[in-house]
Symmetry: C2
Subunit: 632 residues, 2 copies
């Protein structure tokens, strides 16, 4: 029975967290499985994985001033790989053997570890023999993320993206076919006419140039420059560009977006359906284990349910367990039938926190002071809405002061201290009136506390340390902190609250999407670094600095003329920046963000169970506070 409870609890937990249960059924293996799912072990994996990615900062070509000998980075990487091996071995112990080796993810992790070790050995051998060698396995590092079960969200987004792209490929074909036709037309119409770009370069000189220039026009980067020489020759030629943009920009780009949106939604629906199905399966298993036969019907008794709840969280409030029971036992039979039990995972996903203390710490320890007349008057003042308006206006005045003060002025330093002290006073008053818990419950207060507190501490430090030692970095940070105070106003304007709430709802999905982008960025960055490092160098543009970014082939290029030398692949940071710039220009990626938005924006966030819970809590007159359910 102890094993049964353990097994049932594991199924319920897996169903809550959306995991596949894949373990040998024995007490030892189950405990190992639960140990693997422990939050600290997972956090350690995140940290090690993050460190693994960060190694690129220190490996040659390293970020300036941070280069380490390859012995050091390889020692660190070995440690990380050993941790990976430890995790995989852990998985292999509690998973049935055939299941372990039939899972491509596990096989891929083993292969990735082997390949990385092999590459390290080859690199050491070649480098020590004086032969130039490339650590090519570095590009494979992000793939660990896609294969470890802990990061299955990224894997899922990845899969969705891949499927959607395979649907969109026909439209892309047609797009490039049309582009080719238009390029041929432009090449024959405008090429060989002696027309030139502003910089003197021949206009639509070759077919490939034509394709490239028209593609760039679709990204709108060379609009309207690309049409000016033809326009100057004859206004009729503008028709060509209007038709081209009409078809290739407006029509195709939108068709592509529409196809992406529709298919993404379709695939996502499938994923959700599958995950709901597996959830139900796991809860069914748990039910079969816990249920007993009463009057020919399988049901879970109250005792068993309380045991399960206590097992899942030994510190759970009995009153809350009671609420759960009443919500679940919707027919009031005092037993949970299967259909009722299946709702337990959704119910536990609703985070419920108990509101125990309504009195502040000061009110608790110094009641005579806190409940005295002047103190009560202070509370009324602070809770009045004009108190908030006063400090919002003060924030705006602060902004104006920041805007009009010159860098050479000194009067604004004094003003800054006045503002800072007033804002600190605001925070202290609010803390006094609301108490710690209620103050920090509001995200805007936390923001305020951090921004003002950090500025206060940095300001004090600056005042203590001699003025001459002020570093530019600390001044910049201080400035950013000052301007960030303005953001607080968003929290005070009612019409902005809905939007901010929407954004905060969307953020988790966006972060997953960002992680997928990171995988791509990292692979491209490593490949780019190995291929292009050192080809383009930045050393300033003043007299005496290297000409043409240190590469004579860039003589007379737009790249040099536009001062783009810092857009290079000389280290991982620069490579990431270049990739980011390219992403912004090619809006295709925006499409994916867009869908996430539309999906989340459309989806209603208030579930059925939550509402029911609210009702029951109200009915019972209990004082639980309901938080938003955890994001998937």
């Amino acid at each position: 029975s102890d094993l049964n409870l353990l097994l049932a609890a594991t199924y319920v937990e897996d169903s809550i967290d959306g995991r596949h249960s894949d373990f040998k059924v024995s007490e030892r293996h189950l405990k190992l499985y639960r140990l693997y799912q422990n939050r600290w072990g997972q956090a350690a994996l995140y940290v090690f994985f993050f460190m693994h990615l960060c190694l690129a900062v220190f490996e040659s070509p390293a970020v300036e001033g941070l280069e380490m000998s390859y012995w050091v980075t390889m020692l660190m990487e070995t440690g990380i790989l050993i941790f990976y091996m430890f995790r995989v071995t852990h998985i292999s112990i509690f998973t049935p053997l055939t299941r372990f080796w039939s899972d491509t993810k596990n096989i891929l992790i083993v292969i990735l570890i082997t390949i990385t070790f092999l590459d390290m050995v080859i690199y050491i051998g070649l480098t020590e023999s004086g032969i130039y060698s490339v650590r090519w396995s570095r590009a494979l590092r992000p793939l660990f993320a896609v294969n470890f079960p802990e990061l299955r969200q990224i894997r899922r987004s990845f899969r969705n993206l891949r499927r959607t792209l395979s649907d969109v490929v026909n439209v892309l074909f047609l797009f490039f076919f049309s582009l080719a036709i238009f390029a041929l037309m432009a090449y024959k119409l405008f090429g060989g006419r002696g027309l030139t770009w502003v910089d003197g370069r021949p206009y639509f000189e070759s077919y490939w140039d034509s394709i490239f220039d028209l593609y760039v026009l679709v990204t709108t980067a060379n609009n309207p420059d690309v049409m000016m020489p033809a326009f100057d020759l004859s206004t009729y030629y503008v028709i060509f560009f209007v038709v081209f943009l009409g078809i290739c920009f407006f029509i195709y780009m939108n068709i592509i977006l529409a196809v992406i949106y529709n298919n993404y939604r379709k695939h996502l629906k499938n994923e959700v359906r599958k995950s709901v199905f597996s959830k139900r399966q796991q809860l069914s298993k748990a039910f079969e284990i816990l249920a007993i036969n009463i009057a020919g019907k399988k049901v879970v008794t109250r005792t068993r349910f309380v045991q399960l709840m206590k097992f899942l969280d030994s510190k759970k409030n009995p009153a809350l367990i009671n609420v759960f029971w009443i919500v679940l036992d919707s027919d009031g039979s005092d037993y949970l039938e299967k259909v009722e039990f299946l709702k337990v995972a959704d119910l536990l996903n609703v985070e419920v926190s108990e509101v125990v203390d309504r009195t502040t710490l000061i009110g608790h320890f110094f009641p005579t002071l806190y409940y005295s007349k002047p103190s009560k008057l202070l509370c009324t003042i602070v809770k009045n809405r004009f108190f908030g308006i006063f400090f919002d206006v003060l924030t705006l005045i602060n902004a104006v002061v920041i805007g009009i003060a010159d860098n050479d002025d000194t009067w604004d330093d004094a003003a800054e201290w006045v503002f800072l002290c007033l804002f600190m006073l605001e925070i202290l008053l609010k803390l006094y009136v609301l108490g710690f818990r209620r103050f920090f419950k509001k995200i805007w207060n936390v923001f305020d506390f951090v921004v003002i507190g950090a500025a206060f501490i940095m300001g004090l430090l600056e005042a203590v340390v001699a003025d001459e030692q002020e570093s530019r970095l600390s001044l910049d940070v201080l400035l950013v902190l000052r301007v960030l105070r303005l953001v607080k106003i968003i929290g005070s304007v009612n019409r902005f609250k809905v939007i901010v709430h929407t954004i905060s709802k969307i953020l988790p999905s966006l972060l997953t999407y960002g992680a997928v982008m990171l995988v791509f960025y990292y692979i491209f960055a490593i490949v780019g670094m190995e291929a292009f490092q050192g080809l383009v160098r930045f050393s300033g543009y003043d007299a005496g600095s290297e000409l043409y970014c240190g590469n004579d082939r860039l003589r007379d290029s737009d790249f040099w003329r536009n001062h783009y030398c810092n857009n290079n692949f000389n280290d991982i940071v620069h490579a990431f920046i270049v990739l980011f710039e390219l992403t912004v220009v090619n809006h295709i990626f925006t499409a994916f963000v867009l869908e996430v938005f539309i999906l989340e924006y459309t989806a209603s966030c208030q579930g059925f169970l939550e509402t029911q819970m609210d009702k029951k809590i109200q009915e019972m007159g209990l004082s639980f506070r309901k938080s938003r359910p955890r994001a998937m």
Copy 2:
């Protein structure tokens, strides 16, 4: 009873065309109403409206070489306004008087006509007295489109757009608030540091410059140039731009798109619901008029239904009317109950054309020739799929020849004639085998016929006229026709057919949207012309041409350096081109196109009635060909 039939038929027609029925019920007024709805009268309005807009080409500031005296254009405008008055008077006769004057649209048309006449009189008076004067009522011209009932599609799109924008305004506020905060930060961080843009202009010198430069970054037009000076100073500053783009580009732009999409869909649903309701109302009225009481139930008899059909289209095939009857009378009672009758509008919207002739003209007049053995062999060859593939390959070879031939070469002229003759042969063979009707039924054949035929005729003309007189324009058109041949290949590739079909479905909605854009363009263009005409002049960039676009204030400007002089408001054509360029840079408009796409793409196009029709037609062994229903 004759009046009854007329009235019922009018209701049914209005319901098919989505009009509001608004007339006095008498034979005279009904006939006037139907006369107003006559297609020729509506076409005349379109033509006059188009001419009205086109007047801007000839009015000062006119397109070069097309300027007319204002007496001429005003005479034309007077004619157009008289036509408008004639139409409004027509409406006022058949509409109940109180209804006529309670409709803002009618009042607005009357006001617009009055204002325009007034403006003309004032203009003549002032100009003849030698005072400079502006024809400001010209900017109001597109508003006629929004108010005449014939152009209600545009009015509807307009209303949707307006409602959606009012929903999005909060997000826009937040966007500009964030932009203002970031601009303040950038101004304080980067301004006054002595940094410069590539062209030497000070970097983030003033607050307004900062706002402008960051706004341009959101349109991606100055990416990555805007971050290079800060990037060169310190890599840390890139964080600022990444955060800015992350919030203002990725997040806000997408929130805006999502809000637009959702609200547009919501408003459109309401519109559709309303129009369905009014349709049902009109059909109900028609039913009440036509129905008789049989066994206590109101029904329409077969005789009455045939009368109605004959009244609506006297040339309608009796067999087809029979099909309609069978489809509508779904319970086989030989009477139409109300619920059955209400489907008549949707049914009539399904365009059914009869396939009468399966023999070609040649086969009809020369059967011995057409059905002889060699002729039959020819038919088999032409219908073989390798026939199509052969000509597709030939098209590709043609493309390669166009691509590699130099302008100075002469061999490609000969090759061109060979290709042209071969393609003509293809068209003639297809015509022979398929006959005229079947050949021109396929849109790709029409395209082919036009492109090849026009090239053939122009080639012949060119050969007849002396070579020296070849104009550049005719050569350009010939070249475009040559390259357009390639487009035919899209029709041959199966994977492209779905996409092309989707686009063709979407096109009508897009045209409405384009008309709305035109309204905005026209107003802005007229205002821009009156404000900015002559300020910027284009006269080339060679030695001897005017410096700084003829405006000394453009000395040292990017505008002059980028050769943008032709981007001016000197006439309506130039003004439209400038507005188009700005539209492409500001992607906001793309959002609206996107929704149309998603909506149309998502919507299924196969209605219930259509399928039922197919079934019945098949059951009856009849030979009707079903076309797509008319687009809304």
